[in-house]
Symmetry: C2
Subunit: 257 residues, 2 copies
DNA sequence: CATCCTTTCCATACGCTGTATGGTTATGTA
DNA sequence: TACATAACCATACAGCGTATGGAAAGGATG
């Protein structure tokens, strides 16, 4: 179909290959960072590389592979701080969580894609979270509890990021929206919510993701410490002691499936 | 453009309107439940209703509105169990969490869409989680801590569901995959992970979402209880007491932003 | 009764998507 | 020199969301 006289087509001259998996993924990441995930189309991507859309398919099998490659890039950028045996295991765990959050936050337009692809990405996560395991191991938790605690913490971070990247501003302007919504509630519908909101007021409700994240980490470390009290106590690392009882004190009917 | 003789077109006879917002959303939910979110197209949706695709746009402005409507349906189906003052606030909180998880799990093909739409849905969540507030209020937490704890718990549930709906089976067959992946790790890359995995073995690694969820709830209630010990102690509800110190004992450098 | 407005539905078409197919050409290897 | 392979391009197709505008049935109004 193609006329013989055309210039286009054919393999490029030696040493000037325009495409490679890396080059494509780098360009894709740039598009996503600059213009959002919806701006990433195969035509657009090929365009910024000065290439025909179909050429991309010689380096990546399809668009899903491009997105998976981007997720891979982000996880590769994950760098945990040096453990530093000087700090407590709690602080070590928190640092790991902060690093994990920051890595995914670095490309907010990509975060949703990464989190959605969990089944593919969970494989990567599994071998990425050694620092979490190390911190909890130092904390003296038995293997089973380490796994449970890491899963819980990672799931939380994913959920937190879901909310964080969904809003544009760093400080979500939740307060006015929430106040008006609460004001519209049918009388007596959600009394506790109403009381809490009015007690805090607009200022108290101003939400800051950073402090929200830190509050959550505090709950986690306390909860994990409480659960492991017995194990830790037997090693002598922690002397004070009945937090697990506090948690379960009025809760005799816990029903793990 | 249309020939005069054609039968098609025109308003239907009285009393036999084929379309309505509810009818459309019901059909859409059925498609998503049966065939997945990708099967939901405006043409397909119109097809199952025996109607021209463009007719849908008289009842819903665009496809995004259809998806938002589905999210709305799911949240409307959220039913929390009767608080029941007999159980502890911890169990009350857990029950609320279980109900929330179950509501979103009921339509797994839709969960990702709902969770992705957080900015739109968070508004709904805010007024949906009264039971969470009530439980924590009964636990004696001050307003600020109630908000932080609820945010943390809801974020966790979202992240948990992200993982849960991403895999088909109820029991994720993580073990063999994880084992082979760990076996491929460079020597000494993730020693703690390797040790934990080998300690648990394939049987110990078999992951069950239900028990994973319960483990997480235990960590949460313990962590929240620890954080509120002082407040609760002043009311005399809880007598034993130094868990907050345990959590922070070797952690003097907590740095909330 | 006739007229007009509004609502509901339909037909067509546009620009966009991912990608299947198959052609063209420069290169490494025999 | 011959050939297989790899890298690139042109075309085309089916599908998407939806803009535009026409047709027909009521309800309201004279």
């Amino acid at each position: 179909m193609v006329k013989a006289g055309k210039r286009s087509g054919g393999r490029p001259r030696a040493g000037e290959e325009r495409l490679s998996r890396e080059a494509i993924l780098t360009a894709a990441l740039r598009i996503v960072d600059d213009e959002g995930i919806d701006a990433l189309t195969m035509r657009r991507l090929a365009g910024t590389l000065g290439v025909n859309p179909m050429s991309l398919y010689h380096h990546l099998p399809n668009k899903a592979a491009v997105l998976a490659g981007l997720a891979e890039l982000v996880f590769a950028s994950l760098e945990f701080p040096d453990p530093g045996d000087a700090v407590s295991w709690q602080e070590q765990l928190k640092d790991a969580a902060r690093a994990y959050r920051n890595a995914l936050r670095a490309h907010p337009n990509l975060a949703l894609q990464i989190l959605s692809d969990t089944s593919a990405v969970s494989a990567v996560v599994v071998v990425t979270v050694e620092p979490f395991y190390r911190a909890l191991d130092r904390g003296g938790l038995p293997a089973r509890q380490i796994v449970e605690a890491v899963n819980t913490l990672v799931d939380f971070i994913h959920g937190f990021l879901l909310g964080e990247v969904a809003v544009r501003a760093e400080t979500f302007d939740l307060a006015p929206d929430l106040l008006s919504r609460v004001a519209e509630l049918p009388e007596g519908k959600a009394p506790t919510l109403v009381r809490v909101v009015s007690e805090l007021g607009a200022d108290g409700l101003a939400y800051d993701f950073d402090s929200g994240f830190e509050s959550a980490l505090a709950i986690f470390t306390a909860g994990i410490a409480a659960g492991t009290t017995n194990a830790v106590r037997s090693t002598g690392t922690v002397s004070a002691a009945t937090s697990v009882d506090i948690a379960n004190q009025t809760d005799p009917s816990a029903n793990p499936a």
